[in-house]
Point group: C2
Chain length 387, copies 2
Amino acid sequence: MSRDFSFTLRATDGPARLGRFSTPHGEVDTPAFMPVGTQGSVKAALHRDLEAIGATIILGNTYHLFLRPGDALIARRGGLHRFIGWNRPILTDSGGYQVFSLSDRRRIREEGAEFQSHLDGSRHMLSPERATDIQANLGSDVAMVLDECLAYPATHEAAADSMRRSVRWAGRCRQRLEELRSRPVEGVTVTNPGQAQFGIVQGGVYPDLRLESADATVEVGFEGYAIGGLSVGEPSDVMYEVAGATAARLPDAQPRYLMGTGTPEDLVECVARGVDMFDCVMPTRHARNGQLFTSQGRLNIRNARHAEDDGPLDPACRCYTCARHSRAYLRHLYMSGEVAALALNTLHNLTFYLDTMGRIRDAIAFRTFESFRREFLRSVSSLAVES
Amino acid sequence: MSRDFSFTLRATDGPARLGRFSTPHGEVDTPAFMPVGTQGSVKAALHRDLEAIGATIILGNTYHLFLRPGDALIARRGGLHRFIGWNRPILTDSGGYQVFSLSDRRRIREEGAEFQSHLDGSRHMLSPERATDIQANLGSDVAMVLDECLAYPATHEAAADSMRRSVRWAGRCRQRLEELRSRPVEGVTVTNPGQAQFGIVQGGVYPDLRLESADATVEVGFEGYAIGGLSVGEPSDVMYEVAGATAARLPDAQPRYLMGTGTPEDLVECVARGVDMFDCVMPTRHARNGQLFTSQGRLNIRNARHAEDDGPLDPACRCYTCARHSRAYLRHLYMSGEVAALALNTLHNLTFYLDTMGRIRDAIAFRTFESFRREFLRSVSSLAVES
């Protein structure tokens, strides 16, 4: 186990957990939402704005950084934190999810995943060892194991085979990390010796496979555990059920991270089932498409009804966008294709997500999570979504 | 004359002038550079960043705002300042320059300019009265008269005809403004009663025409005077000579604005010839193309030599971009098409321009402008431009 990573469970309210984890780049209060900084930049946001609105940790995508500018170049810069000028914690994924998304440009074998770059068609092999090495070069505070992400729906047999391969890969990732921790390895620069590594539970929507995967992954032993392979097309209630059952099987003393989820409602519902960490492109991607989250539901800023609206996006919001600009102006910027529309919308949506996490943490601390949850779901999701 | 607009000449150093003008939205120290906020947004910059780096006045383009979202909508919002949430001074152009740039989509008559929208092909007439009305709806602090911008080169005869038409148009603009100041006019909302109006001197590169235009425009009488029709393709030395000769013919007690110029060297050279105000898309447009201004000359961030450079764009620069990020990261963001590249580059280039204006003002105040000018031209423009 890394001596530089620790997790403290500070309070619980039913299955909901208030916690804090420590990394070489600082602490993160959980439940936490991690904005996605795909290529070393959270799209349309500047680091100082992320800090100001309370982003304590961001996510970087190994696949993208590996291809451009390359993990070796980043290692020569001293690691991802120094390269991008972000001094708070960073979690990197393994690159697996993007590689599996390439569908006809990749081939999976026991050894690893062969794939062709979406940028230039060049061929690469992403093995568990390579995914571990790349993340060592990047020097994130939390690295993820390479796992196989199955499309939904999958048969029980396919899900079982895939999950068991993921468990074998998890073991190889952990072994490689321990090698890197114990001795210098040619071609790898461990830019963050205190890096932690999380295992990932797979198993599709099959309870027996999820439990088998959780037990086997915990058996390998990691600083934290993720729940992968959800938010891939299954209904919300199935996702909630699987996430909840899986979370309940994981060790209390370590953080639980639900990958790639979700809507604000999803975050609340999964915190209610014992999840501690989330990431999702939804707030940033929706912002760039004009879809904005408010305390009164979602709106689309392109809608003509905003053209002469002098009010803010959300009177309950503390962000710069809401403090300074009207819906009328934001609609004009969006319709005119101004870069400022992307920046202002992103700032707002991320503030909504991060403030929601803050309210969740407060509610757990005060043991009022259930009433917060009911009120939140009533106000946010009962209203029609404007598309 | 507007009682809400005044100009004070505070010091001179040769023809270079240190001044300050007052508007209903605050004061502007001159020589001043105005970032261009074409559609009510300085491209890729947020208002708070413009304020933080010392932008005391921005420019809005009447042509663009008239077409989208429309000056009537902006008037219903209370004027451009309230619509865009910018509380410092704004200058608007007349729309003439953009209309004349439409070339085959416009026709000029004595009445005004007929043109077709670049957005939807709709037909419109921009007359001197209409240009004045639109700007009254917008409520900028400084409105510009409608003038005819001639392409370079033009014969003496064409330049003379065009210039004399501009003088007649200037008279009509002034008459319309006085009408608006004295009584309500159907369909026009004077959203900023303290709005000033500047005349524009034309006459191509012909000294006799420039002097005739200056005299005739001053005869009409405006709160300030602009020099138009330069930076349209003529050599720099011709531009400097015409700007200098024209500036010298204008009243000492009023501000002089050279429209659409230019490089940092142009600003210094034209301040040296008595110009007080500038605007140009160069810092913002170049930023979006990766062309960055530094105290050591220009660079292009795409260049491979920056790929592993951990240093800032410009060690002499105080901007957020230089304080936080390396050339290596900025190149990565640019090559990866990240929105943050546009924002960070824009912040840097505008800081360079605004800091240059601050240094110019200091040099005039200390009567060291000539040595500043020599040193500036030596350090900035003697180095090769990296394209």
